[in-house]
């Protein structure tokens, strides 16, 4: 079988999604046999986009002109473009203050001096190009990355999950942190797939996988209010990974 040619790269992000892939230590040797990491700056030297790619796996949101250019180019050269990680899918932490002017933020950090290239409001990939599949998570689960790659070999893209973190939390028989302990757990509003990682260790879900498409926000807010969390606090939390949360 011919190796699949992959382009793996990051935009504005922490490299966590790419690192998650490198963290698949057991599977890396297999992966190297089936895939040609033809463009993977984090892990190898060839630095030019050459030819076509079977898939581009892109981490991070877009906030600089050169990133935009690279993204468009990848889109052009790839059969599939796959957004990996919450930043690529929803904007992520970098988009935390997207409702404020970039210039204000810049001044706050860099003062009056100018920086090399100007930046714009961080955008999730699908604001700029068509995205064929998304894997969310900050960082995404290794299993999901491996299944994505296995799927590519079989000719299929992953399917989004449509249930909340709570579902998996209940399957793991955790004591509910929200209803039993009154902690601000976002589980019911957030897309599952992480096997309720955090609540399973008694840590409230911080929502790193982004909004559940069918979330019942109104009812959730009512429950949070009952537990003493006002709207603002809840929204501050929700928007940590996805600035687009609105009622």
């Amino acid at each position: 079988m011919k190796k699949l040619r992959l382009a793996i790269t990051g935009m504005t992000a922490c490299s966590g999604c790419q690192l998650s892939l490198l963290n698949c230590e057991n599977e890396l040797p297999d992966l190297l046999e089936k895939f040609d990491f033809s463009f993977f700056p984090l892990a190898s030297s060839p630095l030019d986009l050459i030819g076509e790619y079977d898939a581009s796996i892109v981490e991070g949101c877009v906030s600089m002109p050169h990133e935009k250019k690279l993204l468009l180019e990848l889109r052009n050269r790839s059969r599939y473009l796959i957004a990996v990680g919450t930043c690529a899918v929803f904007g992520g932490v970098a988009a935390l203050k997207n409702d404020e002017e970039r210039e204000v933020l810049r001044k706050q950090v860099y003062g009056s001096s100018s920086i090399v290239e100007s930046t714009f409001r961080p955008l999730p990939l699908n604001n700029l190009v068509q995205v064929d599949a998304s894997i969310t998570g900050c960082p995404p689960e290794k299993m999901e990355l491996l299944r994505l790659l296995g799927g590519l070999l079989a000719g299929a893209l992953p399917v989004d999950s449509d249930y909340p973190v709570c579902t998996e939390c209940r399957i793991r028989e955790n004591i509910c942190l929200l209803t039993e302990r009154g902690e601000l757990c976002l589980g019911m509003l957030v897309s599952g797939g992480c096997h309720a990682r955090c609540p399973s260790m008694a840590v409230p879900c911080e929502g790193c996988r982004g909004p559940l498409p069918e979330a019942n926000l109104r009812e959730a807010l009512r429950i949070y209010a009952e537990k003493g969390f006002d709207r603002e606090t809840v929204f501050a939390r929700l928007r940590r990974f996805c600035p687009e949360w609105r009622l």
């Binding site: 079988m1 709570c166 579902t167 069918e214 009812e219 959730a220």
Partner: protein
């Protein structure tokens, strides 16, 4: 009736001897206060008075996530049946037993689900009597399901009155002769009496889907699925297949599914048959109270009270039953 009596003092020894017949799983109270079925083989004391576990014993028969097949180029799809060792489920409440009875009907039978059958054949059921609390409805709305077990233990003053219902149960009790004295004892009335009775007629009348309550409930439902995950008889499943990294093999996995999710009724192209939550509620209610397909006419709510106890917003389908009964009159 000839029964056996096991005293409280003899319970640990009973459990000890039970290990001969395989692993033991029973209700355990965790450090966090949660009650779950867990391993008792190491002599841990079960919490036999706990009212309800977070998940029912169905998790032993029908796992939340189970590999069904793997595919290889040479052999095609090959069924995966892990080696399952014998296990005794200890201290199952009648509702739990009735739940298993229902799953037996759904997934067992003449052409059983092989994975279910493999697990089931290794399981011994030991029931225990209990006292319903405010969430339970076994004492209010009867279920046509039976509470079948191999051995049933009624809690009485100072010990347990033990009745045997199967040859497997008999075999076990044979071995316990020194711990259980044979006595002429009345079997106490217990929650068990609420199972195995026929249903009053009005439960079978058509469901009034026009009640505004459906929508009211639906507006509040979070779609978290807790209610069906914890239901002893909910057994909808999804099947997904994942390709291996060798480019040829793959595995097929079965997951618990849930009729409150949109994808449950979604077909290709994105059409959804149960679009709104209200419709999904009706679907769920119909399934629980009426059954469909081969189990049409077999209500499957066993009254364990979990769905209400664990629903984050405290939704209670019993309210609907009352309303529906009233509207049917």
């Amino acid at each position: 009736m000839l029964t056996r009596f096991i005293s409280d003092q003899n319970l640990p020894d009973f459990m000890q001897k039970l290990r001969k017949f395989g692993g033991i799983e029973g209700p355990l109270r965790g450090e966090d206060g949660g009650v779950r079925f867990g391993n008792l083989s190491d002599g841990t004391t079960p919490d036999i008075h706990a009212i309800r576990t977070l998940l029912p014993a169905k998790k032993y028969l029908f796992a939340p996530e189970e590999r069904l097949f793997n595919y290889t180029l040479q052999e095609g799809y090959k069924i995966l049946l892990e080696d399952i060792s014998p296990v005794t489920l200890f201290a199952l409440h009648p509702c739990e037993l009735a739940g298993i009875n229902y799953l037996d009907r759904l997934l067992g039978g003449d052409a059983p689900d092989p994975h279910y059958a493999a697990r089931r054949s290794q399981i011994t059921l030991i029931g225990i009597s209990c006292l319903p609390d405010e969430f339970c409805s076994c004492h209010i709305s009867p279920s046509p399901l039976q509470a079948l077990s191999d051995i049933f233990m009624n809690i009485v003053e100072g010990g347990f009155v033990v009745t045997v219902y199967s040859s497997r149960g008999k075999e076990i009790m044979e071995d316990m002769k020194d711990l259980a004295e044979e006595r002429e004892l009345p079997v106490p009335q217990d929650a068990r009496r609420f199972f195995g009775v026929s249903l009053p007629l009005n439960v079978m009348s058509e469901i009034d889907t026009g009640l505004p309550e459906w929508q009211k409930l639906a507006d509040r439902c979070l779609g978290c699925g807790a209610c069906s995950l914890c239901c002893p008889t909910c057994a909808c499943f999804n099947i997904l297949e994942f390709a291996g990294l060798d480019g040829v093999s793959s595995e097929r996995i079965r997951y618990w599914d849930n009729c409150l999710f949109k994808s449950h009724s979604m077909v290709a192209g994105g059409a959804v048959f149960n679009k709104g939550r209200a419709e999904r509620f009706i679907y769920r209610y119909r399934h629980k109270q009426r059954g469909f397909g081969p189990l049409r006419g077999v209500p499957s709510c066993v009254g364990c009270g979990r769905c209400r106890a664990f629903c984050p917003i405290g939704l209670d389908l019993r309210v609907l039953t009352e309303l529906l009964e009233r509207s049917a009159v």
